[in-house]
Symmetry: C2
Subunit: 207 residues, 2 copies
DNA sequence: GTCTATACCAGGATAGAC
DNA sequence: GTCTATCCTGGTATAGAC
């Protein structure tokens, strides 16, 4: 029975589906969940509203599908990157480079910032999405760094995982405040100074 | 001309106004900006909708007034607290106590967490509110800590302000992830371990 | 599966009596 | 200043033709 379905139909269908998801991304990232209308999603996807509802159960289902897709994309983007393998080298360089890359990556990526706004803003109403986010997204960075720090016995770190969390946390907080909350316009703090301070604190050679 | 206004009228007016703000707080913190309806605000304040509109120009105006009020309240709550004065004593105790107090304060205060969700979530659509938040809220903690660290020459800190930002940032990030994004349910990390790791990192006596 | 057209409801904001 | 009643717009979701 399924053999009667021509390939063209299936392709058309998945094409529309991804068009809808693309339009949904645009709208949800720009206006948030509640302020996004299915009309505008349909318009952005150049599809009729009914088509949207034939692919997704309702607004909530579309939203969840979109967020899941964004998470997967970001996840594999990070995993596939040159950073995704393993860290090696002297601590000062490795940490400095990691911090620079992380900040650069996130600060340059405005859609991802909008995504962070969305996830945090809707975390009260969509706890499952928040849980999925906090489960996947920072995980790889964290374990990568934790593993590296554990091998650097020269640093004499009592609790490498705690240090890894402080490292990532400081940087993510820096992005949230300086970028998402516009602190860079009102209480500026140079990026390089933050990175250097952080690296110096961990690689404490007392030089 | 204003002398003809009896005190009772004025009092009634300000009473209603604060009732409206209280209802608005309940609704906006629970549902976010877009999903909050003026009907429910009026109902929560036990006032008619028209009364709400007689005190505030529109939904946006009410929202801004509410956020301003919340900021002022939190600001003076922190300033009036016993911590608000000055830090003194040995670094290990002072830092540990400060971190404990900060975390306890925020983690216990669910409305404030909802407020953080709201500010971050709406920062794209209400940049002025985000700017005001990042200008006021973490300011006192930051300068307090920065000043303290500057006096502790025994710690040999190259850049006390950077360290202060790392300190606050790690803790705020801890709250955002563990609490707001429910990481505590999926990737738990004990509060005390975080604090100890942070203090040990800064007070590096190599013991 | 996809479109057009529409049912149905709710939200923001206001008019007018008191 | 405050209420009741209402206007109008725009939202989600679906019915029915193709």
């Amino acid at each position: 029975m399924e053999t009667t379905t021509p390939t063209s139909e299936r392709q058309l269908s998945t094409t529309k589906r991804s068009a809808i998801l693309s339009g949904a991304m645009q709208e949800f990232l720009a206006h948030g969940y509640a302020a996004t209308t299915m009309d505008r999603v349909a318009a952005a996807a150049k599809v009729s509203k009914a088509t949207v509802y034939s692919h997704f159960q309702d607004k909530e289902g579309l939203f969840m599908a979109l967020v899941q897709q964004l998470q997967e994309k970001k996840f594999q983007a990070v995993y596939g990157s040159p950073e995704g393998q393993r860290l090696q080298g002297p601590p000062r360089q490795v940490l400095h480079h990691l911090a620079s890359t992380m900040l650069e990556n996130i600060i340059e990526d405005k859609p991802f910032q909008a995504f962070m706004r969305l996830i945090i803003g809707e975390s009260g109403r969509f706890p499952e999405l928040a849980r999925a986010f906090s489960h996947h997204t920072p995980r790889c960075f964290l374990s990568l760094l934790k593993e590296y720090l554990s091998t650097q016995s020269g640093l004499k770190l009592k609790d490498p995982e705690a240090i890894a969390r402080i490292f990532i946390g400081s940087l993510v907080h820096y992005v949230i405040f300086q970028e998402l909350l516009y602190a860079k316009e009102v209480v500026p703090f140079e990026r390089e100074r933050m990175i250097t301070g952080l690296v110096d604190l961990i690689v404490n050679e007392s030089v």
